[in-house]
Structures are given as C-alpha cells and as structure tokens.
Amino acid sequence: MSNKTDISVNVNGREYTRHVSPRVSLADFIRHDLGLTGTHVGCEHGVCGACVVKLDGKIVRSCLTLAVQTDGHAIETIEGLSESGEISDMQEIFHKRNALQCGYCTPGILLTAAELLEKTATPDREEIREFLSGNLCRCTGYEAIIDAVEETARERQDGK
C-alpha cells in the first residue's frame, strides 16, 4: 500500500518537508527522518514520558501523535529548547543537583517542567510532583528532580 504523503512541519524554527507513511509516529519521525535524537522512545504507549515534545507550544507525547497529524504545525524538541537557551538555567541546576543519571528521561522531564513553570511561576513540591507524574525516571528516585525544578522556579523569581 503506497499511501505516503508529503508533510511540512516546522521543527525548532526550521521548515522540513518529508514524505512519510501515516503509521509513523511523531517520535520516530523526529528521530529517524530528522535525526533529532534528543527525543527518546521508551514505552511507546503513553506511560513513560520520555518522548515528550511541544506541539504548537504545548507538551504532547510524540509516541501517541502521528507525524502526518503535524503537517502544517510547529514542533519544538529538546534540541530547540536547549539551543535557544530558554531552559539553560534549569539544565544547569539539574546537573548541579544530580537530577539526572542515565539521562534517558531527562529531555521529557525538562520539557514538562518548562511547561509547568510557564503556567505556575512558583509551584510547591506537590504541584511539581503532580505535573511530572507522567514522566518515569528509573534512576534518581525523583527527589533530586523535584529539588531542581523547585530551585529553578526560585532562582527565576529571585532574578526578576
């Protein structure tokens, strides 16, 4: 069956046009077609959060979104957020506080935490926990991650 279609997607500010099969997930498209491997693939059924990207400014699971669905839309991945520098403070604090070990879950967690801090400038620990509840980390035990998000929020407030 040849049902491939052309899609044009803006990823991290750059326009890409690619010929894709409808069954390709956004996660596989980003990794294999665009070579942006910062988006990770874990469970592939929406549980682990490793594949989180931004679609039109909001975080989504790229394993539960099809690449064809994003035709005409804008995607931001961890590469985009890293290069723009908008989360560099959080990345530094994650590093400092050992909020990552193997790093597999980290891109998804950073994107999710970034959205939380956009919505709520100074979330309490419970709110951080709740917002990150859809991101699994098998290394850190989460406490360091919550510490890091909390500190990022605090520093951003102090910096104002």
Partner: protein, 284 residues
C-alpha cells in the same frame, strides 16, 4: 514499534466525515486525541483501514454557555476543561474529576468526546456524564439525536454510538446554588485508570440531600449508577448510621468484577470507603 499500515485523511467538515463513513464502514476509525487509539495501533491490537483525523473540525471544539446548560464540544481537550472558568463554576464535578485524568501531556491532547466514545469503564469522564446525567449530542448524515448519559453506556466498551455517528457535543446541566459534588478514586499510579472510584452529584438543603447521583467506576463493565443507595440517602439527614446502611446497600446493589491486581473484595471495599468519605465531606 510500528502499527499495521493504514490510510489517513483529515476530515474538513462533518459532512466530509459522513462521506468517509459511507465509503469505509467499519474499516474507519475516528482519530480525535488519539491517546488511547494510537496505543492500540502501536501494539497492533487494532488495524483500521482508514484513520480519519477530526482535529481540524473547529465547529466541535469549544465550550459554550447558555441559560441552563454548558455545552462542551467533543474536541475540547482535557486541559481546556481543566482551565475553563465556565466548567469550574457551572460543572464543578467535572472540574474535580479532570484533575485525575492522566497527565499534563496527555490532557493537552486527549479529548472530551473521545473519552466518552471510548467508554472505558474505569475512566473519569464517562462516570461524570452519568452522574450529571449529561445529554450527548450524536450526529450523522441523518441529523442529530440527543441521548441521556444514563442510556449511553451499554456494556464493556459498548455504547449507543452507531458506526456512522460521531459525538459532537456533551450538554451538562448548570449547577444550582445547592449543588454539591464529590470525586474520589484510587489508582495504582498517579494518572492511571481507576481501580475504583466514585463520582457524586446532588442537591443539599441543610443536612439533607434532596437529590443524589452516585456513580461507581472501575468496578464493572460500565460506570454504574447506584440508584438504590441514592434512594436510601435522599431525604434523610446524613448520620453515621445512614452512611453505614448505605455502604451495606452498596454491596447488594452493585455487582463488582475484579481484575488481575484488585479483587472484587478490594474494589468493593474501596467503593464503600469512598461512599463514606464523600458523604462525610458533604456533612462538613
């Protein structure tokens, strides 16, 4: 992991969707938020011939308020429900429930109508549809029909929705001054489908409930309206002995089905516990 191959089309209007219904019959699947559907595709547990993406149908993607109903378009995302002031003010039960639906990234994508059409017996939104006796607006080429929430859920994943029909809106009656709501659920992990849960909606005058809907979910093939238990409570002052009577009646009225992790006994225990907690909350 790759799904089986399928074709993909974006519906440009409802009537375009009806054309596709005619063309593909039961080989067609509607793709709304896709948060459950794409999981089953990824696991090759489902192999539709044609996936019709309805995400461009802006006519069914907003919340509107009239004198006595809040109408939620089928494509409204869970996150929009969570952030809506109209929902918070006029459909408080839904606001309580939405906090328990999955996770932020899934709430940004998952849709209100999708959750109802999917009809998972352990999901929060179908339970609210039943507890609030919302009216579902179903549309097809033949026109629209309205069906009461209490008539919609038939059996495990089986609803009144026909093959050539789509849910376009869900109409919730506006809460009155004396409307009270409570929501409880137990999950193995935050954001999971419920092991057992309760959605309560009623009207409270002083210490006496004038009307009451109790919906238990995660315990059977559909969300279950416990009518007898509610009848027992309505019109009576809420006292510890009434709560105990209601708990005992609950064990008689609903037939609980266990699962691999949680036995019938556990689910019934949780249901009784939630009933007590929710009624006690109303007393305060």
């Amino acid at each position: 992991m790759k799904p089986y191959d399928f074709s993909y089309t974006r519906a440009t209007s409802l009537s375009h969707l009806y054309d596709l219904f005619d063309e593909y019959g039961d080989g067609l699947k509607i793709l709304a938020g896709g948060q459950s559907l794409i999981t089953t595709l990824n696991m090759r547990l489902s192999s539709p011939e044609m996936l019709v993406d309805i995400n461009d149908l802006s006519e069914i993607s907003s919340i509107s308020l009239t004198d006595n109903i809040v109408s939620v378009g089928a494509l409204v995302r869970h996150a929009e429900i969570q952030e809506s002031n109209d929902i918070k003010q006029h459909v408080p039960l839904l606001k309580l429930a939405i906090e328990h639906v999955a996770h932020a990234a899934i709430r940004n994508r998952g849709t209100h109508g999708g959750s109802i059409a999917f009809a998972d017996p352990a999901a929060e939104i179908p339970a609210c549809v039943l507890a609030l006796n919302a009216t579902l607006v179903l549309a097809s080429r033949e026109g629209e029909r309205r069906i009461a929430g209490s008539d919609f859920f038939k059996d495990l994943y089986d609803t009144e929705l026909r093959e050539n029909e789509i849910i376009v809106a869900i109409e919730y009656p506006i809460a009155k001054k004396n409307t009270v709501s409570a929501f409880r659920e137990f999950t193995r992990r935050k954001g999971d489908f419920a092991t057992a849960g309760l959605a309560l909606n009623g009207e409270l005058d002083g210490k006496v409930l004038q009307s009451l809907s109790l919906v238990f979910f995660g315990v059977a093939n559909t969300p279950v309206l416990a009518r007898q238990v509610a009848d027992l409570i309505v019109g009576e002052p809420i006292t510890p002995s009434l709560i105990e009577k209601a708990q005992n009646e609950l064990a008689n009225e609903i037939e609980v089905i266990g699962d691999l992790y949680s036995s019938e006994e556990m689910k019934l225990h949780l249901s009784k516990h939630f009933l007590k907690q929710a009624l006690e909350e109303l007393q305060v």
